[in-house]
């Protein structure tokens, strides 16, 4: 019996089908499920920070309101809208690949997603700059004019940890989208094979969901706070 060379000495199949899968459906299903398992670990990762937020806010609800009052609600709302738009363009990128639209269409949707992701990070950079200028970054130079300096410092520690971790996820997401956009430009994806776009989309939407919670919990809790 001749030893089979490691390679393609068997029935023809889709070039992107890995050998340990029976067919494209099974492969797509496995990848999607794998991504969801990863996202569950991400839920717990961010969950720890949300837990810390809940505990400290419970200990000083008024202090957190006063601290939240100093965040810029316009930038926060704008960023929420931008992220929702980026999720729409992402979903349409997946759909474009799924329906075998031309590579050009797929790339345009993916580049739009990257563009809105960069807009989000740009606004975040403006906000962070304001916080450094106003000395409300926790640490030795933290200054607070209000009545609750200690809870305010706790609030801003959580603000930077949570939005910072979220921004890091955005940066990684933009990296992933760049690779996917490059693959799409090489005519990789069609209705037969679009799993990488789908799975990258799952990640992008997850990051959007985290922000959906961060926005009200950080920016909106102090809107009707009056000192004194």
């Amino acid at each position: 019996m001749a030893i089979q060379p490691a390679g393609h000495a068997h029935a023809p199949h889709h070039p992107w089908l890995q050998h340990h899968f029976d067919n494209m459906e099974q492969q797509a299903e496995a990848s999607t499920l794998g991504m969801w398992v990863f996202l569950v670990t991400e839920i717990m990762f961010f969950g720890g920070l949300f837990m810390a937020y809940l505990v400290y806010r419970h200990q000083s609800p008024t202090g957190f309101q006063e601290a939240s009052h100093h965040l810029n609600v316009y930038w926060g709302t704008a960023n929420t809208a931008i992220l929702i738009i980026s999720s729409l363009t992402m979903a349409l990128a997946v759909r474009a690949a799924q329906t075998s639209q031309p590579a050009r269409t797929q790339v345009i949707w993916l580049l739009s997603t990257i563009f809105f992701g960069l807009c989000f990070l740009g606004i975040k950079a403006i906000e962070y700059t304001d916080k450094f200028r106003d000395h409300i970054v926790p640490g030795p130079y933290f200054q607070w004019e209000g009545l609750y300096p200690k809870p305010a410092e706790q609030f801003y520690s959580l603000y930077f940890a949570m939005t910072g971790l979220h921004a890091l996820h955005m940066i990684i997401g933009i990296g992933i989208m760049s690779v996917i956009a490059f693959m799409a430009s090489r005519k990789t994806f069609d209705s037969e094979y679009y799993t990488p776009v789908e799975v990258a989309g799952l990640y992008w939407h997850f990051v959007d969901i985290v922000w959906i919670y961060l926005f009200p919990l950080l920016y909106l809790i102090g809107r009707h706070y009056h000192a004194g």
Partner: protein, 99 residues
Amino acid sequence: MSGHVAPKSMYYAVFAALIVGTALTVMVAFIDLGAMNNVLMLGIACTKALLVILFFMHVRWSTRLTWLVVASGFFWLLILFGITMTDYLTRGWVPGTWR
């Protein structure tokens, strides 16, 4: 391969709902409703998250195994919040035990 292809109009409808939800949350935040502020704020956030998960992330058309994994993630999150808060919320119930 054949995943479910949703019409473009569905994506635009979900997008519109998400934007309306955001506008509503911001409006509600400026009105003082006491504890109801938190309830409404988180209620809207959960609705928005659900829309993204079901439609943008295609869970609506996914297998039961995927449903189970997604639900288990949030279930474990609730265990984290639930059990931790049973500690913090009940401190001081027994005299002399605070901290």
